[in-house]
């Protein structure tokens, strides 16, 4: 039983990271119906920025964190301006390919700048555990869970309660109509990319004590975040986090109870099953096809 709870908590913590990356997918998808295959790589880059600020320049953890988030938000805007905006409105497949290309580029450049070694950031959560009876919970995992909850709540409020959030939802429903209503769609899309890059950075920095930062971390985790986003319905902010947690728990349970090899496959098996039975995901909207 104790094993089970321990596995559950570490699964939830891992799942929260998937959820944070999936949140980035969902944000961009919600606003522009574009799937950003470079999301994991944005996370990796955020982690490297934080490493530069904290590990190399010796800044305070929180200042370095904020600096990395700000820098990545700017980077997200630039990436949107250069790569995505010129092809917005063309078939979805071209945009997917463009973001895959961007991911390739970011991975290689990060490898060139920061090398291929595993890097580590010293955080206030790196050491120390919380003991509850015989249950031992590490702070780094708890910090990921807490931060995910806070970010998810903030983003949900932002999308549903603020003017800008409403504008984002409107431009995702119908870009042209949103233009007519006076919504500055291009600026809205820029802001969405900035937010999603910032969320990715949070994931990268929080993840740093658990898995180290290296240039391929984005690809590995990004591929796990897809099942999370699909499970949650690819358009729902709470859905992304719930999907991420489910995938994380499934993965860590499969690693513990099933024979070797299932750990890496289980999320995809679940994904294919969900796509077969309920393609719109757990929180997705019902789709009706028109000509």
């Amino acid at each position: 039983m104790l094993d089970f709870v321990q596995q559950l908590v570490s699964g939830v913590a891992l799942g929260c990271v998937y959820g944070l990356i999936a949140l980035g997918f969902v944000l961009v998808y919600k606003a522009t119906e574009v799937v950003n295959f470079a999301q994991g790589d944005l996370m990796m880059l955020g982690g490297f920025f934080a490493f530069t600020f904290i590990g190399m320049m010796g800044l305070n953890y929180w200042i370095g964190f904020a600096g990395a988030v700000a820098a990545m938000a700017l980077f997200g805007m630039v990436a949107e301006r250069v790569v995505v905006r010129p092809i917005l409105g063309y078939p979805q497949f071209s945009i997917i390919m463009a973001t895959i290309g961007l991911g390739y580029f970011l991975r290689s450049v990060a490898g060139m700048i920061w090398g291929t070694d595993d890097l580590k950031i010293e955080t206030p959560f790196s050491r120390g555990v919380l003991r509850m009876g015989s249950l031992v919970l590490a702070y780094d995992k708890l910090s990921v869970i807490a931060a995910t909850m806070i970010l998810c709540a903030l983003l949900w409020l932002f999308f549903n309660k603020t003017m800008l959030g409403t504008a984002m939802r409107a431009s995702s429903e119908n870009m042209l109509a949103a233009y007519y209503m006076g919504i500055p769609v291009k600026r809205v899309v820029s802001v969405v990319w900035a937010i999603s890059a910032a969320v990715a950075t949070c994931a990268g920095v929080l993840l740093a004590p658990i898995t180290f930062i290296h240039s391929n971390v984005g690809l590995v985790l990004g591929l796990k975040a897809f099942p999370a986003a699909v499970l949650g319905g690819f358009g729902s902010i709470p859905g992304a986090v719930v999907g991420g947690v489910l995938i994380g728990v499934i993965e860590s349970m499969a690693g513990f109870y099933l024979p070797e090899g299932w750990k890496d496959v289980a999320p995809y098996v679940v994904l294919l099953t969900v796509l077969l039975l309920k393609p719109e995901g757990l929180f997705g909207l019902h789709v009706r096809k028109k000509v």
Partner: protein, 383 residues
């Protein structure tokens, strides 16, 4: 400019619309046939890879270009073909038999992937095919009694009708070329048959195709099966060319490379698959050439523009240091993909058509002929 008067449907669907086609393709085929006697063995080896990539490109074009179903899982089909060949070869099954068996098995698995894909479109389909490929990769690594796991499998020399065909021999190249030509001719015939018309109809509008009486589900599954089977054939050749296969050769990276083949070549014509394959395979030697020779050339240019010997030497060594940076190849790959998507969406074959049209219409060419129409995004959720 040539004017053609088509008087019946047979004229419209002819494989060679006029004698010019016979001449140009005849010359091309003749050049390809004498290639082994002219080119170096390294280039011949690259040419074999061009053939294999082009076969996969044609397969992907059937699925992605003509049926409109994106797939990022073709490395898995290639792997299934390759492993089937390697496994059957151990039991002394003759080449023609396991070649066909690999295609058949891959085709059946392709159809099995096609069924769940029926309910999926766009991004969901892409993700489902990625998951399928990752699962296959893991199975290959774990099913050790058949695949030898991560140790990989050795593939013996191909023997065709009792004659050994080493992987570097001209005969092996002719075999790959023959498979490529047969695939292309077969696909061209497929595309002008009712099945091919149905594929294109599904790509252009699924609902419209259905209302015209096309059985969308059946044709989608067919498209998956045909595409997978052709990739399986390519897998057999791939296994023989490499003579050693292991699971880490068939990663997502390879699937992305296949998509890049058709993206760079152009997704609307079979020419695209071949041009894209040439580009992808030849970019490696080209980058190596740049890495070796570029520093000297740049230093030479700097010297002619009046830089001293010391400065020129400095420039040479810094350029050389940059060129040998780890991961430069990946960065160049990324940039190429992005640039093609942004500036040459019709691919290399599209560029060729533009150049051809420019000269045909000489002073009257308009850029707008090839301008893409921009569709402002309407949500898929209420489309």
């Amino acid at each position: 400019m040539r004017f053609m008067f088509k008087t019946d449907y047979e004229d419209d669907i002819r494989l060679f619309p006029h004698s010019g086609y016979v001449v140009t393709y005849g010359v091309l085929l003749a050049l390809l046939l004498i290639a082994p006697h002219v080119l170096s063995s390294y280039l011949m080896s690259q040419l074999v890879f061009v053939c294999i990539y082009a076969i996969v490109g044609v397969a992907l074009l059937i699925l992605t270009g003509f049926t409109g179903q994106a797939s990022l899982g073709h490395a898995a089909f290639l792997a299934i073909g390759a492993y089937t060949a390697a496994y059957l070869q151990k039991y002394n099954v003759p080449f023609p038999v396991y070649f066909l068996a690999a295609g058949l098995l891959t085709g059946i698995i392709g159809a099995m992937v096609g069924f769940p894909a029926l309910r999926l479109t766009g991004i969901y389909l892409v993700i489902a095919t990625i998951s399928f490929a990752l699962i296959v990769e893991e199975i290959l690594a774990r099913w050790e009694s058949v695949t030898h796991g991560n140790e990989g499998m050795r593939v013996k020399t191909l023997s065709l009708l009792g004659v050994a065909v080493p992987r570097d021999s001209p005969t092996f190249y002719y075999l790959c070329l023959a498979v490529l030509v047969l695939t292309i001719v077969g696909t061209l015939n497929l595309l002008r048959s009712p099945t091919g018309r149905a594929f294109v109809a599904i790509r252009d509008s699924e609902t419209a195709a259905r209302s015209m009486g096309v059985n969308v589900a059946l044709y989608k599954v067919k498209s998956f099966a045909i595409s997978a089977a052709i990739t399986g054939f390519a897998g057999v050749l791939f296994a023989h060319k490499l003579s050693f296969i292991s699971p880490e050769m068939f990663t997502l990276q390879l699937s992305i490379e296949f998509i890049i083949v058709i993206l760079i070549g152009g997704t609307f014509s079979l020419h695209g698959a071949v041009l894209g394959a040439i580009f992808i395979v030849m970019i490696d030697p080209f980058l190596t050439y740049l890495k070796d020779d570029m520093p000297g050339i740049i230093a030479g240019i700097a010297a002619t523009f009046g830089a001293g010997t010391a400065t020129a030497g400095n420039i040479q060594s810094s350029v050389a240091a940059f060129a040998s940076l780890n991961g430069l190849k990946g960065a160049i790959y990324g940039i190429i993909i992005v640039l093609f998507v942004l500036f040459e969406p019709l691919g290399l074959y599209g560029r060729w058509l533009k150049i051809k049209l420019f000269f045909q219409l000489f002073p009257l060419y308009k850029r707008a002929t090839f301008k893409r129409q921009k569709i402002y995004v309407k949500s898929e959720r209420n489309r």
